[in-house]
Amino acid sequence: MIEHRDDLASKMGMWLFIFTELLLFGMLFVVYAVYRSMHPEAFKLASEELDVVLGTFNTVILLISSMTVAMSITSIQKGNKKLAMTLLIITLVIAVVFLVNKYFEWGSKFEYGFNPGGEELLQLGHGTILFFGLYFVMTGIHAIHILIGVGLFIYVLLQLRKDKIHQTDYIWLENTGLYWHLVDLIWIFLFPLLYLIH
């Protein structure tokens, strides 16, 4: 059977999928809003415990990676396979750096016993427990998305190398890019909610 190809349909499917992701995180934001309004003071104090410098750094590199993946798409549209691959590798590296930072950030929280169920944390008030519970759930689910993104980049890179993705058929790259923008966008919301609002 001849596979019928409809890039517009694929893109539409991807957008619908992005919708579902936004709803998934949207519900977490709702839960966050509910508990923040119940414990405004504790949330403020707890958020000051987070490492704003590391968070800002991660935000900046993630934004850059959104740009590089977009540039990679433009390059393949222009038929420049080598540039497309280079840009994608940069994106991939940034994704990994983001995760490494996250690892250290989480690690220091564990060290101080601020992990869910951690000794220190349980000594503190309900608001603080909830804040850190949400912090780990939200950044954790986001990190899983980054990890999936890494997998997608590797797959797309292999396809690019085998010329399965090329100037006239690059929907996989384009949809991966869309996905990556989503992951970036969600971080853009997570970052101020968790690190910045005081």
């Binding site: 059977m1 019928h4 409809d6 517009l8 349909a9 694929s10 539409m12 499917g13 619908l16 999928f17 919708f19 579902t20 992701e21 709803l23 998934l24 995180f25 519900m27 977490l28 839960v31 509910v34 508990y35 414990h39 992990n115 869910p116 169920g117 008030g125 309900h126 608001g127 427990i129 909830l130 519970g133 949400l134 780990f136 759930v137 689910i141």
Partner: protein, 537 residues
């Protein structure tokens, strides 16, 4: 015809592709084969769920422990609920008949993403397997009920984790099917098939698919939070850590009320196909049915609170939810009027699918009207968490979705298998089933009003009479089911062969293609000029 590799003239059942044997099915991306894969999986698990139900009813035939104790009973209703809701009625009609007939009815060769479609089935099966492990591993089968209410669901030692996670994976499958159908309907309708020339079953699948996309992520994250709560103790639903279990109920029902429309809308679509064909009349109020479908899909998001009237809510929230619940019943009632008006003065052709369709209207009305009793605040407090609720949702879910499923099966069977079933046995099975069904569930309304709570293995002696009738009804109903299934399974393999394209005189596209359909459904994509139900009266 001898060349079984040619996609154009060989039946999808005989087509020989790159795989053989079982692999030719479980790796097939043909929407028709995937539809049948779902059908067989569901048939198997429906049988399991039905046996569990029968065991529960047998337990309830007399007060006290009859054949089991409280622990076993709790495990049974939990597994029964999980199977029937997450494995059967949520994927239900879209996964089986939507997959099989949506592309054909809109004049397409397949769905938009055939491989994604196969992935959906695989995720569904993986989800089922994960759920099943909850029964055998760890500290005993889950005993929370299918609703997994916090805080019990993360405090019980029972093995809740795989059940919750399995449901999460099945949710993924449901989302992917939804995305597939929305894109298919937008991009692949045959030339000339404008939105308002699309048949009603595809329309209801469209509404359903949107709910699948927009509601399922909510249950996804909710179930993940339960997983996190159990594994890590994050405290979000745990009052001991400052969390709020009622928040769980909200999140759960924000999905699960729209999900009841995932269950029923496609059923309404099937009935809207069958009634005109067997009345030989154009459907009455096509547009009203379309608009009420979309209205249900929309308003259905804003009524979840009616499951929580007794959980603690502000007065204003209470009457708002109650009011909206009454609103959402209106579009359903509109459809009932449409179906009845279609039959009015039609030349009725009394055949098995029509029996199912008409009895659907009957039981659906009982279910819907008792929903209103539950939706009004004062009466809800009286019957909440009693057998009244159990009767209500069985009349709707089993009476609605279940009957529509049977109607669809008997309506499209000859097209799907190229064989005909025995009409006599089919009608007999329907009759016995219908009597058993009402004997089983009708007494529950009265028991509930008298105050018999749900989810207990035992009851006061006062409730004995009603329970005897109900339990005997269960046995009668199961006899009906056995007759129906035996007839269909035998006929699928040995029934009279037929290549007749249009045994019932239907007007939609699936009745113009070969019986059984060829691999690519259409040799040439048709051009549509007329609306879907022209009976030329």
């Amino acid at each position: 015809m001898s060349d079984s590799n040619n996609a154009h003239n060989v039946s999808y059942l005989d087509y020989k592709g790159q795989y053989k044997g079982l692999s030719a099915w479980i790796f097939s991306t043909d929407h028709k084969r995937i539809g049948l894969l779902y059908l067989y999986t569901m048939l198997a698990f429906f049988s399991v769920g039905a046996i569990l139900g029968l065991l529960m009813k047998t337990e309830l035939i007399a007060p006290g422990a009859t054949i089991m104790g409280p622990k076993a009973y709790n495990a049974l209703f939990t597994l029964h609920g999980i199977i029937m809701i997450f494995i059967i009625v949520v994927p239900g009609l879209p996964a089986v008949f939507g997959n099989f007939f949506l592309p054909i009815m809109i004049g397409a060769k397949d769905v938009a993403f055939p491989r994604l479609n196969l992935l959906s089935w695989w995720l569904y099966v993986i989800g089922i397997l994960i759920v099943l492990t909850s029964q055998f591993l760890g500290d005993g089968p889950p005993d929370t009920g299918w609703t997994f209410y916090a805080p019990y669901s993360f405090q019980t030692p029972a093995n809740v984790l795989p059940a919750v996670f399995g449901a999460f994976v099945m949710g993924f499958s449901s989302i992917l099917t939804g995305i597939n159908f929305v894109v298919t309907i937008h991009r692949m309708r045959a030339p000339g098939m404008t939105w308002f020339k699309m048949p009603l079953f595809p329309w209801t699948l469209y509404g359903t698919a949107w709910i699948q996309i927009l509601a399922t992520p909510v249950i996804g994250i909710t179930l993940l939070l339960i997983v996190a709560e159990r594994l890590l103790g994050i405290g979000i639903f745990d009052p001991a850590l400052g969390g709020d279990p009622i928040l769980y109920q909200h999140l759960f029902w924000i999905y699960s009320h729209p999900a009841v429309y995932i269950m029923i809308l496609p059923g309404m679509g099937v009935i809207s196909e069958i009634i005109p064909v067997f009345s030989k009349k154009t459907i009455f109020g096509y547009k009203a049915i379309v608009l009420s479908t979309m209205a249900i899909a929309f308003v259905g998001y804003f009524v979840w609170g009616h499951h929580m009237f007794t959980s603690g809510m502000s007065g204003r929230a209470l009457y708002t939810f109650s009011f909206l619940t009454f609103l959402v019943a209106i579009p359903s009632a509109i459809k009932v009027f449409n179906w009845v008006s279609t039959m009015h003065k039609g030349s009725l052709d009394m055949q098995t699918p029509f029996y199912w369709a008409v009895s659907f209207i009957f039981v659906f009305m009982i279910g819907g009207l008792t929903g209103l009793v539950l939706g009004s605040l004062a009466t809800n407090v009286h019957v909440h968490d009693t057998h009244f609720v159990v009767a209500h949702f069985h009349y709707i879910v089993f009476g609605g979705t279940g009957y529509a499923f049977m109607a669809a099966l008997h309506y499209w069977f000859p097209k799907m298998f190229g064989r005909m079933y025995d009409l006599g046995w089919a009608n007999l099975g329907w009759g016995i089933f219908f009597i058993g069904f009402n004997a089983l569930y009708l007494p529950m309304f009265f028991l509930g009003m008298q105050g018999m709570p749900r989810r207990y293995y035992d009851y006061l002696p006062d409730f004995h009479g009603g329970n005897i009738i109900s339990s005997l009804g269960a046995w009668v109903m199961i006899s009906g089911i056995i007759i129906i299934f035996a007839n269909l399974i035998r006929s699928a393999r040995h029934g009279k062969k037929t290549t007749q394209k249009n045994p019932w005189g239907g007007k939609t596209l699936e009745w113009q293609v070969e019986t059984p359909p060829t691999l690519e459904n259409f040799e040439e994509i048709p051009t549509i000029e007329k609306g879907p139900y022209h009976f030329g009266e």
